[in-house]
Symmetry: C2
Subunit: 314 residues, 2 copies
């Protein structure tokens, strides 16, 4: 692809052509040199989608819940995109078979776009590939963009940080209380959903979670994360979840928190891009390698790393 | 502490006063504003110690092995410092009780200094606190500095990257082959030690490891990591480990790899300090917050993150 092809591709993606949307996400995933052009072309059209993060330990039913959420959002006539980020995979996420299976009931619905993306971790990985892929889907006119992490741990928290609203999924029988506290998810959830709530122990998970959330001090006017229950495989409770998401959307806008969250995300994105650019520049200044020269001086005891860093940043 | 007190403190640490060495490590751990002064004062005296990284999954006997290594190094009349880095702990690692237990047989030996350090993760965490703490111990005149990670995963690999030589510990009965491949430790070890080698399965671990290591292509003249066995609790095999470490030290110097590794580490350290300084600067330019202004423009769709990043680094 060349820079000249960018405007036409962006135009087709905005008209809802799924192949063009997919090609744009691939450009992000592949860390294409055209990304600055693409983001420049997309920027004026972004900012309208509701970005919802879905996170939770393996086994809580994330894919089933996503599938059920898509169904409910489609009933309400929203266009829906899903971005499944796999921070652990070194392989391309454009795996068609996996995405088709994930699409479940929605494989033929033109109002639904589902795509998985590997976060290879070059040059910052998740921190900048995710927001750029979300910008693609946002600018392509989807009303809801669900971002789901595959995998566990810190990366889930990071992906949640990319969303306007974060939904944390739990399920009975997984020692969830402790898991929750450990993973720091008590701080990131705007909405908690106990899935598989027809199973033993679901009420206990809900109760424990509510009491843990109740311990957190919240300012007046702050959002109090609801704890809902679903049986996603049967669609039970899913409409309530979407109601809660829409309520949270209203609160985000009215409280000013939406703007604050989006500015914080844009800050991180800009900062990561700036630091990446600087690291490239420092590696090859004036044909030589300035950082290598400074490093050799530190190793020789001729200077110290602080003085060297000052020289680098001028 | 004030900047005026720096030269005297550094002088006392270089004379071998353990309290002064400990205070310097605390300054690093606490991310003291005096660090640039301290590093400037220490830089000319560093570069003589052999930095050895110890890594391995919980349960392989890291503390016992460290204790046995200290004993053998002391028999050879080396002064030894141990830095135990705990990347997961938010608490100060200057915990005296823990360190005294860790010192084991060496609590009264003035040629041994043991210190644990929390890596709080402010402003880059491990990436710059570890090299600075190692610089303190190096400049204080220890012949060997062992850096040991508490915890698991990526942070172990990071800590190993701070050492001249990295020793990977394994033990039978822990599914080590698979663990090894997963954690990427097959790439980081200069020396592999199967501890608890009087237990069932030790020979199999050794064999599996050797065959996995044998698959790696190595250039001519490259170091071939030996796979040794110990029973650290009885001191068995420990002299062989120290012999192998000294052999690796000779190879590092003669092959030029020592210089390459140290330059690479200094590069990372300088880069991290430079990026930290820039992030601070971007946060507060001209009394306002330049990054916030750019982020708001990105959110409004008035600009894109690449253009914003260019403006920041301009």
């Amino acid at each position: 692809m060349t820079a000249a092809a960018v405007p036409a591709l962006v135009e087709k993606a905005r008209e809802g052509d799924p192949r063009s949307v997919g090609r744009l996400v691939s450009q992000v995933e592949d860390e294409s040199p055209l990304l600055p052009d693409l983001m420049r072309a997309l920027a004026p059209h972004a900012g309208h989608a509701r970005i919802v993060g879905l996170t939770g330990a393996p086994g809580v039913g994330k894919s089933t819940s996503t599938n059920a959420l898509i169904g409910e959002l489609r009933r309400r006539e929203h266009r829906v995109a899903v971005l499944a980020v796999d921070p652990s995979s070194p392989f391309s996420g454009g795996a068609l078979l996996g995405d088709r299976i994930r699409m479940g009931d929605h494989v033929l619905d033109p109002g639904v776009f589902i795509r998985s993306m590997a976060a290879r971790g070059h040059l910052g990985g998740l921190a900048w590939t995710t927001p750029q892929a979300l910008r693609v889907l946002d600018a392509a006119g989807f009303d809801y963009v669900l971002v789901e992490t595959v995998g566990v741990g810190q990366s889930e928290v990071e992906v949640a940080g990319q969303a306007d609203s974060t939904m944390v999924l739990l399920a009975p029988g997984m020692g969830d209380g402790i898991q929750a506290a450990k993973a720091g998810i008590l701080e990131i959830g705007d909405l908690y959903v106990v899935n598989k709530s027809d199973r033993d122990g679901a009420d206990k998970v809900r109760r424990d979670l509510r009491s843990m959330l109740g311990l957190a001090e919240r300012r007046e006017g702050a959002w109090r994360p609801p704890v809902l229950k679903t049986v996603a495989s049967k669609g039970e409770g899913v409409a309530d979840v979407v109601d809660a998401l829409e309520e949270h959307g209203t609160w985000l806008r009215e409280s000013g928190e939406l703007q604050r969250r989006r500015v914080r995300r844009a800050r991180n994105e800009i900062e990561t891009l700036a630091l990446t650019a600087l690291r490239r520049r420092w590696g090859t200044v004036g044909g030589g390698d300035r950082l290598d020269d400074l490093a050799a001086a530190v190793v020789a005891g001729e200077t110290d790393p602080y003085t060297a860093a000052d020289q680098l940043t001028g």
